[in-house]
């Protein structure tokens, strides 16, 4: 034990006090952020998860290229699928890290010493949150080489990275914040993980419902209100189906609202009330109840006012007053290629139309008129539009991914949706596209292999470098 004298200590303390007056202290959120960052990335769970993520991405890109069926998927769709999976894994990482942030500290008995400092609770939570979302930029960076590989030079790459970054930067903070909120209310890590993973699965469930359950007003609403499904729908429409942002921006409302709700709860309500025990303050619950109900009411008003599918209109236009045209007559392509075209629906009548459905049909001419299941050929068999005003028109973009060689006729049918169970309507057929599919092409799996293996190897090297740097910083006794 040291025998430093009182005089010596006082002198040292004075020195510290003087230095404190001269130097600049750093904000608490920054200190906590740096501390948590080191904890997550130096031998921590973020590093391990990112390594697993890179391996998963490598496997995925290799499977896409190796499996001849999958490799026939057009680049746009492959990019979309890769992006969707990258985001799903990133959200999982964010949620798991968030779920450990507070309850984990409680369980490891490290939270109390932090709460005993004069640091503001809100700043502690903010610093932790920033560290919690740190794996997302790394995950996005790791995904880019894989997206480049599967895009095969397609122009979808730029928008995919841009919109992936934007939507991911909305969802990842929201999911991480959600994990932290659950963690805030959980006294044990087990409960926190269990609840967080339950919520994660809950958001994934709508995508697993049968196709019919995902259509119609209720199905569409369910997708629209689910932030993950809404983002996937938006990306799918914009990246794969050439739909404009102006058409589908409303699908970003629920992710933004979800993020705002979660982060609002985290920083305005939960953060300042951070304490050693989990969710046992009656005062706090009352405060939370009143504020949350206000937010929910405002959110409900927002949803009902902007959800496009809820704004049903009825019309009585006869089918004869509708027309549908296609901007393509013939096309000669190879298997694996994509055919893109647009249809225009016009209301020639003098009153608003019924809501309209445009359905794609493909007939195999070589096989004496066999019907081809468009589900295999196109990411979208039908498209829906609201009632058209008199004289109004609407354009739809379509894609056909050619699967098998042959001679085909593609045509569209415009169906006005009947307004009631005892009403019907008159479908209208479009001109056809004579489609000749000649030959087979696919992605070379050998060329993809270096990327599939290289990604995880680069991450692993990064981990080893970090480990080595850390070893030099500490005494290894």
């Amino acid at each position: 034990m040291s025998t430093t004298s009182v005089v010596e200590k006082d002198a040292q303390e004075r020195m510290v006090d003087q230095a404190a007056e001269k130097g600049r202290s750093r904000p608490v959120w920054w200190l906590v952020f740096i501390r948590e960052l080191a904890d997550l990335w130096i031998g921590g769970k973020a590093l391990n998860m990112i390594l697993i993520y890179s391996v998963l991405m490598g496997i995925m890109v290799y499977v896409y290229s190796y499996n001849s069926e999958l490799s026939l998927i057009p680049p746009k769709e492959m990019v979309y699928e890769m992006l969707k999976n990258a985001m799903a894994v990133s959200l999982f990482i964010g949620l798991v890290i968030g779920a450990d942030m507070l309850s984990g500290e409680r369980e490891r008995n490290t939270l109390e010493s932090l709460l005993l400092t004069p640091a503001k609770r809100g700043q502690i939570v903010f610093g932790k949150f920033l560290a919690g979302i740190s794996p997302w930029p790394a995950a996005l960076l790791i995904a880019i080489p894989y997206l480049i590989v599967v895009s095969q030079g397609d122009e979808v790459l730029g928008p995919a990275i841009l919109w992936g970054a934007i939507t991911g930067s909305i969802l990842v903070p929201a999911y991480t914040g959600l994990g932290m909120l659950v963690s805030f209310w959980s006294s044990s890590n087990k409960v926190s993980y269990f609840v967080s993973l339950g919520v994660y699965i809950l958001f994934l469930v709508p995508a697993q419902l049968p196709g019919r359950a995902q259509t119609g007003a209720a199905g569409q609403f369910l997708q629209w209100v689910n932030p993950l499904a809404a983002v996937n729908h938006f990306l799918s429409k914009h990246l794969v189906n050439y739909r404009t942002i102006a058409e589908f921006w409303t699908w970003l409302i629920s992710p933004v609202a979800f993020a705002a709700l979660v982060l609002g709860l985290l920083f305005v309500i939960a953060g300042p009330g951070l304490r050693l025990e989990a969710g046992r303050s009656i005062k706090f619950l009352k405060r939370l109840g009143s504020r949350t109900s206000t937010v929910i009411i405002l959110l409900a008003i927002l949803i009902t006012s902007v959800y496009p599918a809820m704004a049903f209109q009825t019309g009585n236009t006869q089918a004869e007053n509708l027309s549908i045209t296609i901007d393509l007559d013939t096309a000669i392509v190879k298997t694996g290629d994509k055919v893109e075209f647009n249809t225009v629906v016009t209301n020639l009548g003098s009153s608003p139309s019924l809501p309209l459905i445009v359905a794609m049909n493909i007939i195999n001419l070589n096989a004496q008129g066999d019907v081809v299941d468009p589900e295999d050929w196109s990411p979208q068999r039908t498209q829906y539009s609201e009632s058209l005003a008199p004289g109004g028109s609407i354009s739809h973009a379509w894609i056909i991914n050619t699967i098998l060689d042959g001679d085909y006729m593609v045509y569209m049918v415009l169906i006005p949706a009947p307004g009631s169970v005892d009403a019907t309507s008159h479908p209208v057929a479009s001109p056809g596209i004579h489609l000749t599919v000649t030959q087979f092409t696919r992605l070379n799996p050998g060329g993809v292999l270096p990327y599939a293996i290289g990604g995880p190897v680069v991450v692993l090297i990064g981990i080893l470098v970090l480990y080595r740097i850390r070893r030099k910083q500490v005494d290894n006794d």
Partner: protein, 334 residues
């Protein structure tokens, strides 16, 4: 235990660093604290005693602003309890179960906490090195905390509690799990910190001998209420029971019972059926003054020696803090 403690009464001119008045806390329908009131002076070590569930941890959590009281109030160095952030700048705490980030070094840990208290990086580092020197970890500054023994972690915890030069330090079971040498070193360190820095120290412990060894004052809690408080000697003196325990060879028990019962002012003599050879000699209640009690105790020994009965052991029951603790907490439980 060696210590320089003489359990002196508090000098009147010492500063009051912690004043607690009527603190109460309910958990549902159960009253965990029933009007905790005491004052801690600068430079003094106060022992906080009580059986499990007595309200020690609740008291510490309230006084360290982790929990709010339902009634009552307290001040730390003159700062009212409703200003928790200001109070946290004045206190240092070693919680009972303190976890450490395993991937940090000792100096990184203290620098981090120093900065959380507002020190700039360089000052925080200087402060950290000084504290590691104070707690005897100057040779392990760059070692990972995961490589530390339990005793070293406790010392690091104490260093962390001192990182802001607190006026009051709360130490909850600081010696738990330490070997005897480690316990002694840590207790001497605590006493030195109190004396040299004029810091008020609240020491929570189940180890009554260590409280008795280094504390100036003591508070005994039972079922949420204070059952004794004051300078250690004073508390022991108030409760001291006039019982002497004598051990003689088993074959001399009957003779000894007769001889001792015949001594004037000996109220009752009994033998312990469980521990053959042990006799309990209860002195009359009015034997209170030290001189009277001492003479009578000498008389007990004299009678036995004159009768050539070997005295194998002798102790005055009720002269230790442990006896006081057991008696008071037992009374409250009853």
């Amino acid at each position: 235990m060696k210590s320089n403690n003489n359990h002196t009464a508090a000098p009147k001119d010492q500063r009051e660093v912690l004043v607690v008045e009527g603190i109460q806390k309910m958990y549902g329908n159960r009253r965990a604290l029933k009007g905790l009131t005491f004052t801690l002076l600068a430079g003094r070590v106060m022992g906080f005693l009580g059986p499990n569930g007595a309200g020690k941890t609740t008291s510490i959590r309230i006084l360290t602003t982790i929990m709010e009281p339902d009634a009552g109030h307290f001040t730390v160095d003159g700062i009212e309890f409703d200003q928790p952030e200001k109070i946290r700048r004045k206190i240092g705490v070693l919680p009972e179960n303190l976890g450490f980030p395993r991937q940090m070094t000792a100096v990184e840990y203290l620098v981090y906490f120093g900065q959380l208290y507002g020190l700039p990086p360089q000052s925080a580092k200087t402060n950290a090195m000084r504290l590691l020197n104070v707690v005897g970890l100057e040779n392990r500054t760059k070692s990972l905390i995961s490589s530390f023994s339990h005793g070293m972690r406790q010392r690091l915890g104490i260093a962390r509690a001192l990182v802001n030069n607190p006026v009051v330090v709360f130490l909850d079971e600081p010696t738990l799990g330490l070997d005897p040498r480690g316990q002694q070193e840590l207790l001497l360190l605590i006493q030195r910190i109190a004396r040299e820095h004029q810091t008020g120290v609240i020491l929570c412990s189940h180890m009554l001998s260590e409280i008795e060894g280094i504390c100036d004052d003591v508070i005994i809690l039972s079922s949420g209420q204070v059952v004794a408080q004051g300078a250690v000697n004073s508390v022991i003196g108030d409760i001291q029971r006039n019982i002497a325990r004598v051990r003689v060879p088993p074959e001399n028990v009957d003779t000894s019972l007769e001889l001792l019962s015949a001594i004037p002012n000996v109220f009752k003599v009994s033998s312990d059926p469980q521990m053959r050879g042990w006799l309990s000699v209860e002195l009359a209640d009015f034997i209170a003054a030290d001189s009277q009690s001492g003479n009578l105790r000498n008389a007990i020994l004299k009678v036995l020696i004159q009768s050539e009965i070997p005295v194998l052991s002798y102790e005055a029951e009720g002269g230790r803090l442990q006896d006081v603790f057991l008696q008071l907490t037992e009374e409250v439980i009853k």
